[in-house]
């Protein structure tokens, strides 16, 4: 339940920012969407069992499914790399929306 709401809120916010002007807010949107995806994946492991999957003698029956966590780790790392690059693009002058493509103004043939 809580996971669903959290994911929903993050997606809504992320999508809204994605549709705003300027790359910075788009990037913020993607970070939020990334969080949402990760929440969904962890939730996909099932939220009933919540002990960290760190084996230390004790039984494993209350431990969370480790596989989704591995997925999320991979996803986080990838998102991080892309976010850094996006920010660099924004700096390189790709921030604001450019005007319409120039080729459209040219005389038709």
């Amino acid at each position: 339940m809580t996971a669903a709401i959290a994911a929903g809120v993050l997606v809504a916010a992320g999508v809204y920012l994605l549709l705003q002007r300027g790359l910075i807010r788009v990037i913020l949107g993607f970070v939020l969407l990334g969080h949402a995806a990760n929440v969904v994946i962890v939730a996909a492991g099932g939220m009933r069992l919540r002990d960290a999957p760190l084996l230390s003698g004790a039984g494993t029956d209350r431990m969370a499914d480790p596989l989704p966590q591995a997925f999320v780790l991979t996803a986080i790392v990838i998102t991080f790399g892309l976010t850094v690059y996006l920010l660099a693009i924004a700096r390189a002058g790709g921030d604001d929306d450019p005007p319409e493509e120039s080729s459209d103004e040219e005389d038709p043939r």
Partner: protein, 496 residues
């Protein structure tokens, strides 16, 4: 041994990338390493194809863990064929990039090599999450390559490309998460038929398909494609058209065949999308005004022809789709190289600035003529066999809409090719054009053979696969059989 075979397409390009990054060596050496890696992968693909043509499936459990636990790489005829074709294409594209000077940048070759790593991985992996990872491996370099060469227009296009791709990737990831939430696995073998049995899984996997439809450029998710590709450098466009959109198509084929088991429930939707894609792409390309933009928008149309495969999901339709896939990879890249050669030699790709090249660059004209005919599905070239088979598949299934649209879209493609031909190769002879700074380009400029040779090779392939369509069609039919009847693939994935 076969295990190593499956690993090589992923390992070799990465190894080459690392080597090139590490070696200070001369440029020619780096080029040799890069091309060599892809030739080797193509060879591997050929071996795999030889082994899988009979319907066998080669598979490997990465890390030698029990089936279902580890990531499985698997190659059936389809994957093998695509690995082979991709390796060949890149091996031809890299010399073109050398000729255009794109690979002058130190990072170009490593980026291309990692990109192809992702493509090969996507073609070979049988694990949904691993597929996501490999698609990211493919996309990440493309984000850098798309703005290679810089310039405002290009960065602007790059923003759009990044945003749309990232959106698709995020959707893909969520889709995979939901699939795992429902089924507790991401192994394609374990997921076989899951979407056909449970509508919930169908929806979750549907998210994945939507994401891939965006990558493939299926109407109405295609809008980014004609906006972005024409602004990349010619070599990059050729590479992208042959690799990126095609992976989207491949995943749609594979997932729909394995996870949905070709469920006919959604046929009407796929049929509609295929028809819309064919038509919109063809008409749209006729509306463009630069050499490359026309070709790029045309890609959308041809994707539509490939979607006919999953839409009808018959042996013939899928064989047609696979045949079209290969044909389009080769021919479109060749034509884009022609466009690039014109842009680099005469300083512009805008139709109204060009003219009379038939006398000044006869070989280029010939190559474009043959390639354009093939793209339009005119005989006796590969495009004709491809279109004929698609239409035939549609008629056999009495899908009149698809048959008519496929035929009509072909006609519009002819018109688009004629538009290019009349403006670029006929029309007023004289100045080649003006470069983007408005300086006139020397009319005497000749197209360098190095720019043309790769296109010649690719278009020659189209002639071969037209007159000698039988071998390729056989491979395509083997691939189709593997999609229609995925039992062998599934068992190979479940117990590698």
């Amino acid at each position: 041994m076969s295990g190593l075979l499956l690993a090589l397409p992923v390992a070799l390009p990465l190894l080459a990338a690392g080597t090139i990054l590490a070696l200070p060596g001369p440029r020619w050496l780096r080029r040799v390493v890069a091309v060599g890696a892809h030739v080797a992968v193509a060879a591997v693909g050929a071996v795999l194809l030889a082994r899988t043509l009979g319907g066998d499936v080669v598979s490997l459990s990465v890390g030698a863990w029990p089936g279902g636990v580890s990531i499985v790489l698997a190659a059936d005829a389809l994957s093998a064929l695509l690995v082979l074709v991709t390796g060949g294409l890149v091996a031809v594209c890299l010399p073109f990039a050398a000729a255009t000077g794109d690979d002058r940048h130190r990072m170009f070759l490593p980026l291309v090599l990692t990109l192809t790593t992702g493509v090969y991985g996507a073609y070979l992996t049988a694990d949904l999450f691993n597929l996501f990872v490999f698609i990211e491996v493919m996309l990440a370099p493309s984000y850098a390559l798309v703005i290679l060469g810089g310039g405002r227009e290009r960065v602007a296009a790059g923003r759009i490309y990044l945003t749309v791709s990232l959106l698709a990737s995020t959707a893909f990831l969520v889709g995979v998460g939901l699939v795992y939430g429902l089924t507790g696995t991401v192994n394609l073998g374990a997921l076989a038929g899951a979407a056909a049995q449970s509508p919930a899984v169908a929806v979750a996997a549907g998210v994945v398909l939507v994401a891939m439809a965006v990558k493939a450029g299926v109407v109405p998710l295609h809008t980014w494609l004609p906006r972005v590709y024409p602004h990349t450098t010619p070599a990059v466009t050729a590479l992208f058209s042959g690799l990126l959109t095609k992976v989207g198509v491949y995943v749609i084929l594979r997932v729909y065949a394995v996870v949905y088991a070709g469920d006919a429930t959604y046929r009407w939707l796929l049929v509609g999308l295929a028809a819309a894609t064919m038509l919109v792409g063809a008409v749209g390309s006729l509306g463009e005004r630069t050499f490359r933009a026309i070709l790029v928008f045309g890609m959308v149309s041809h994707i539509g022809y490939m979607i006919v495969g999953p839409a009808l999901f018959t042996d013939l339709a899928l064989a047609a789709a696979v045949f079209y896939f290969v044909h389009h990879v080769l021919v479109k890249a060749g034509l884009l190289m022609c466009a690039g050669a014109v842009e680099l030699t005469y300083g512009t790709g805008e139709l109204h600035r060009l003219g009379g090249l038939v006398s000044r660059a006869p070989l280029l004209a010939l190559v474009f003529m043959v390639g354009g005919m093939s793209l339009s599905g005119l005989p006796p070239l590969s495009g004709f066999v491809a279109k004929l088979t698609v239409i035939r598949a549609a008629v056999v299934d009495q899908q009149w809409l698809l048959a008519v649209v496929a035929a009509l879209a072909g006609l519009f493609t002819v018109a688009a090719m004629v538009k290019i031909w009349n403006n670029v190769f006929w029309g007023h002879d004289g100045v080649g054009g003006w470069d983007d700074l408005g300086a006139p380009v020397v009319a005497a400029a000749r197209v360098r053979p190095a720019l043309l040779a790769p296109a010649v090779v690719l278009v020659a392939c189209s002639v071969v696969f037209g007159l000698g369509a039988y071998p390729l069609l056989t491979a395509a039919q083997a691939a189709a059989a593997g999609l229609v009847e995925p039992a062998a693939y599934i068992s190979a994935v479940m117990s590698p």
